[in-house]
């Protein structure tokens, strides 16, 4: 079942590349049907065959390409499967304005496969393999249009991601040389506990930064704001959800499933990683306030929120783990919606800077209300979802008893106030201020963009008030 899910987008991608030129209609049908079918199969695999194991390739007994969906993998795969069709639908209307649709949809489908492969990796070797593949698959999407700015962004993207991931490679080799296996086990691989301690910590820190580059941890964050020149469906789905969450996901795999919390907890490695995450939160929030370009501002906000997750994970307690995963899910929904709003505003009215949002409500009432709603959510106003994940993060921070953990709580709250400054302020200017133009015409986007908005907002509300099954599932994964 899982293999079918992997194969479908590949097939769809091939079909788009071959037949897509015949016309937009056939291209859209292929793209959407294949995406939807993949999501259905992923769901089926999640429900019917959890923990089924697939061995695809065996290089040596230690280095195998193998898949299975354990708890955390299921969370990531499920999230991706829910969001991809929505982003796809949104992209149809958006890409009309960008052009080059054929190449775009082909690669977009390809990325779907690779992200699923990352989610379903059963060992570190496989994860590393597809982690690199994801970079290579997305770089052309960043370069889409091949303008000067996009080429620059794509180059930067490659240098950062490929360069830093070599640290992750070192970490993986280190694990391979001390242990017979790299298969993920919750709590860490037993053999590593007996290996030289300092060496292990060093390897972990290398891995944290190597894989953390996708989670844009300081000082490896520079690629993310630059990459926001890419078409909005890329920024919204890949650079707010799939790619960046793959980074967080990999760090979680390293910390909880390879090295193990016991090994790292209470050491300088933990302090370093926690401090780095806290610093990134502050730094990115401050940069976001300073940034005037809406999409870049959102990109900085993503950087800071990714570090919320890393902060939660690096507390190395089950509570921190659960809080990190919660924030990963909730933030994905909201940031995807926010980016989609920014994209819709861009193509419909040509406004890209924050100051230009004045009076947007008169032109695009639905989009501005959705934007404001998401802004309120992201600040963390109760009882919405980000409040809940933030509550979980802060409680975990207090309970960890780690000094940096408690300081981090303060950082989270400062960052929340910053979020109000960089998101609520534009939302208020969009909603409340009058427009110079006396008789603006209504210019809300078409149904292909509005349906995803509607589904996402409904999902946010539903998750806010009826998330008990999800939280129970996460609790089970974190083994609290």
């Amino acid at each position: 079942m899982l293999l079918i899910a992997f194969a479908l987008p590949l097939l769809g991608s091939a079909l788009v590349f071959t037949w897509g030129r015949k016309g937009p209609k056939i291209r859209r049908w292929i793209s959407f049907l294949f995406t939807l079918a993949t999501s259905v199969f992923v769901c089926l695999a999640l429900i019917m065959q959890p923990d089924k194991h697939y061995l695809l390739l065996e290089f040596t007994s230690r280095m195998t390409i193998a898949f299975s969906l354990d708890g955390m993998g299921s969370v990531f795969a499920g999230l991706i499967a829910f969001l991809w069709p929505l982003a796809m639908l949104y992209a149809f209307e958006y890409m009309e304005h960008e052009g080059g649709e054929n190449a775009f949809f082909g690669q977009y489908l390809l990325c779907y496969t690779i992200t699923l492969l990352v989610a379903a990796s059963e060992n570190l070797f496989t994860l590393y393999f597809f982690f690199e593949a994801l970079t290579l698959a997305t770089v052309f999407l960043v370069a889409h249009g091949f303008s000067r700015a996009s080429m620059y962004a794509a180059r930067k993207y490659l240098y950062y991601l490929l360069g830093a991931v070599s640290l992750g490679f070192l970490s993986m080799i280190g694990v391979l040389s001390y242990s017979d296996t790299t298969t993920f086990v919750y709590g860490g691989i037993a053999a590593l506990a007996e290996a030289p301690h300092t060496m292990m910590l060093l390897l972990f820190v290398l891995g944290f930064f190597g894989f953390g580059v996708k989670a844009a941890v300081f000082p490896l964050h520079g690629w993310l704001p630059t990459a926001s020149v890419a078409p909005t469906p890329v920024t919204s789905l890949l650079h707010a959800v799939a790619v960046v969450n793959a980074g967080v996901f990999s760090v979680a795999r390293l910390a909880y499933y390879i090295y193990g919390p016991q090994l790292i907890s209470g050491t300088w490695a933990q302090t370093l990683c926690l401090s780095m995450a806290s610093f990134t939160i502050l730094f990115a929030s401050a940069k976001a306030i300073h940034e005037q370009h809406l999409k870049r501002r959102l990109a900085y906000s993503t950087i800071s929120n990714l570090s919320y997750m890393l902060f939660g994970l690096m507390l190395l307690t089950p509570f921190g783990f659960r809080a990190g995963l919660m924030h990963m899910i909730f933030h994905s929904l909201i940031k995807l919606t926010l980016f989609s709003c920014a994209g819709a505003i861009m193509i419909r009215t040509g406004r890209v800077y924050v100051q230009q949002l004045r009076g947007l409500y008169r032109q695009m009432p639905i989009v501005s209300v959705v934007f404001a709603f998401c802004a309120v959510e992201l600040v963390g106003i109760p009882p919405f979802i980000i409040f809940q994940s933030k509550w979980a993060l802060i409680t975990a921070g207090f309970q960890s008893g780690h000094l940096v953990g408690v300081l981090g709580v303060g950082v989270l709250l400062i960052s929340a106030a910053c979020t109000a400054a960089y998101l609520l302020k534009p939302a208020v200017t969009a909603l409340a201020l009058p427009l110079e133009d006396a008789k603006p015409k209504k210019n809300d986007p078409g149904w292909q963009m509005l349906v995803p908005f509607f589904v996402l907002v409904t999902a946010m509300l539903l998750l806010a008030f009826a998330n008990k099954p999800l939280i129970d599932y996460l609790t089970q994964i974190a083994q609290i």
Binding site: P382, W391, L413, A432
Partner: protein, 487 residues
């Protein structure tokens, strides 16, 4: 079953708010009915008595809960009463405005948030209501959508949200370390924390106080208040200055006396620091008020100073001081609402906002200025008006507390501030009625008395100032019985 009635007072204004948000036309009678009904609902809470009503819960067992107790009901009646009078005033104030429906929408939303805050039964519910209040009340500030109004509204919002986040730091810490899920008179802090007083506890408590104090304009988080209050339409400034700041007072009151418990913080550095800050704010506010020429800015600074009287009383952790603080909460709400409404009526019908240009205006607008005089003199604290009583009890409490330094420094600063208050209120009143030599300034202004719908609320409030000063026994008894359970 009876406890479900707790939801009624907050929900009523919410319904009316939603109605006005989507109403195409302003209907004054709907607004009037909404205000009266909300007030009656708040009053009828006293018939229900103490009750607990869980609302809903979200992830990780975060439960939102309503709880009605005597303190909450006192605040609820006070808040809705002030909203009632200022609401009727605004019916007249906005009579010639093309579309005031949006204003009334957020006016009702603010009342909704305030009444929910009164009913909030746990720290996290209180935090929810606090944030809601910010989001509901800042649109009132940007109502005319001028550049300054928007800037002021955003300043208010950002200050308040920052404060709320600071509050959240304490709220989460305290939620983890209190025994009871709901507010309990006297607090329910864990034994170990209450006796050990770990540094983190005091830091969290202190940050929490400053955070919630933001709404009450405590130094150094007072900056938004003199910017945002004057720029709002006058009825909005009246409720912002008279009522919404009391939300901060209520939160602080709840945290100290219903979650932490006074014993756990008595004599700590946190208490000392908070007392110093509140006294500092008293002085800063009064001194700044003296320098302002714009009548509403003057009154806004006066609010900064007067609210810190209340905070000083709460931070003293002493029986009489807390009683004085609660009395002053009630009296200040009445007086400040009255003063701002008078100022609004002078600005609209007197045509000026500058205190120097108000010479002789008392002859043109006698009723308005008489009400201003009553409330103003009450604010200074001259018997037999109500402000005297609360300040007297407050000072008495400070003296009785026997705390070093503060037992004499507090009353001295209160006295100095009262003199400063006289300094910024008396000239306005005196020159309004006795313009002195030469032709009265107001002759040149086309000043005329406001219509009756705006005058009656003023008269009612001024009357209350006098009434409370002459006969406050039931109120004092009520407050005494509330405070007795706390200490």
């Amino acid at each position: 079953m009876q406890s479900a009635l707790l939801i009624v007072p907050p929900v009523l204004p919410l319904v009316f708010g939603v109605y006005f948000l989507f109403a195409r036309k302003m209907r004054a009678w709907v607004a009037g009915a909404g205000l009266v009904l909300s007030f009656l609902a708040a009053v009828s809470l006293t018939l229900v008595g103490d009750a607990v009503q869980p609302l809903f819960s979200v992830a990780l067992n975060v439960t939102f809960i309503f709880k009605s107790d005597a303190a909450g009901r006192l605040f609820a009646v006070l808040f809705s009463g002030m909203f009632l009078t200022a609401g009727f005033f605004s019916l007249g104030y906005f009579k010639h405005h093309p579309n005031p429906a949006k204003f009334f929408a957020f006016y009702f939303f603010s009342l909704f948030a305030l009444l929910s805050l009164c009913m909030a039964g746990s720290l996290v519910t209180m935090y929810l209501c606090f944030e809601t209040l910010t989001l509901c009340s800042f649109p009132m500030v940007l109502f005319d959508r001028s550049k300054e109004a928007v800037a002021a509204a955003i300043k208010y919002m950002l200050y308040s949200i920052t404060g709320a986040m600071m509050g959240l730091f304490g709220v989460i810490y305290l939620t983890l370390h209190t025994g009871s899920a709901t507010f309990i008179a006297g607090g329910s802090l864990e034994q170990a924390v209450a006796e050990g007083q770990p540094a983190l506890f005091l830091i969290a408590f202190f940050i929490c106080m400053i955070g919630f104090g933001t709404k009450a304009g405590i130094f150094p988080m007072h900056g938004w208040l003199p910017t945002a209050h004057p720029i709002a339409p006058s009825p909005a400034s009246a409720v912002l200055s008279g009522v919404v700041v009391k939300a901060g007072v209520l939160c602080i009151f709840r945290v100290i006396y219903f979650a932490v418990g006074p014993a756990a913080i008595r004599g700590t550095w946190a208490q000392t620091a908070l007392l110093v800050l509140s006294l500092l704010t008293v002085l800063i506010g009064s001194a700044q008020a003296l320098r302002q020429k714009h009548i509403k800015r003057r009154l806004a600074y006066s609010t900064v100073s007067q609210i810190s009287y209340i905070l000083f009383g709460l931070f003293m952790l002493e029986d009489l001081a807390v009683q004085g603080a609660l009395l002053h909460t009630v009296f200040h709400a009445v007086m400040k609402t009255c003063l701002f409404l008078c100022a609004g009526s002078v600005m609209v019908y007197g045509g000026t906002a500058d205190v120097d240009e108000m010479r002789g205006i008392g002859r043109r607008m006698p009723v308005t200025m008489w009400c201003f005089a009553f409330a103003g003199v009450g604010l200074v604290g001259i018997p037999p008006l109500s402000g005297f009583l609360s300040k007297w009890v407050l000072a008495q409490g400070a003296v009785q507390s026997g705390m070093q330094v503060f037992s004499w420094l507090g009353p001295v600063i209160l006295l100095v501030s009262a003199l400063l208050t006289a300094g910024y209120i008396a000239p306005v009143v005196l020159s309004a009625f006795f313009p002195g030599g030469g032709k009265a300034q107001a002759e040149t202004l086309a000043a005329k008395e406001a219509p009756a719908v705006m005058l009656w609320p003023l008269i009612a409030l001024a009357g209350l100032t006098l009434l409370f000063g002459l006969y406050a026994v039931p109120l004092r008894n009520l407050i005494q019985s509330i405070v007795q359970t706390l200490l």
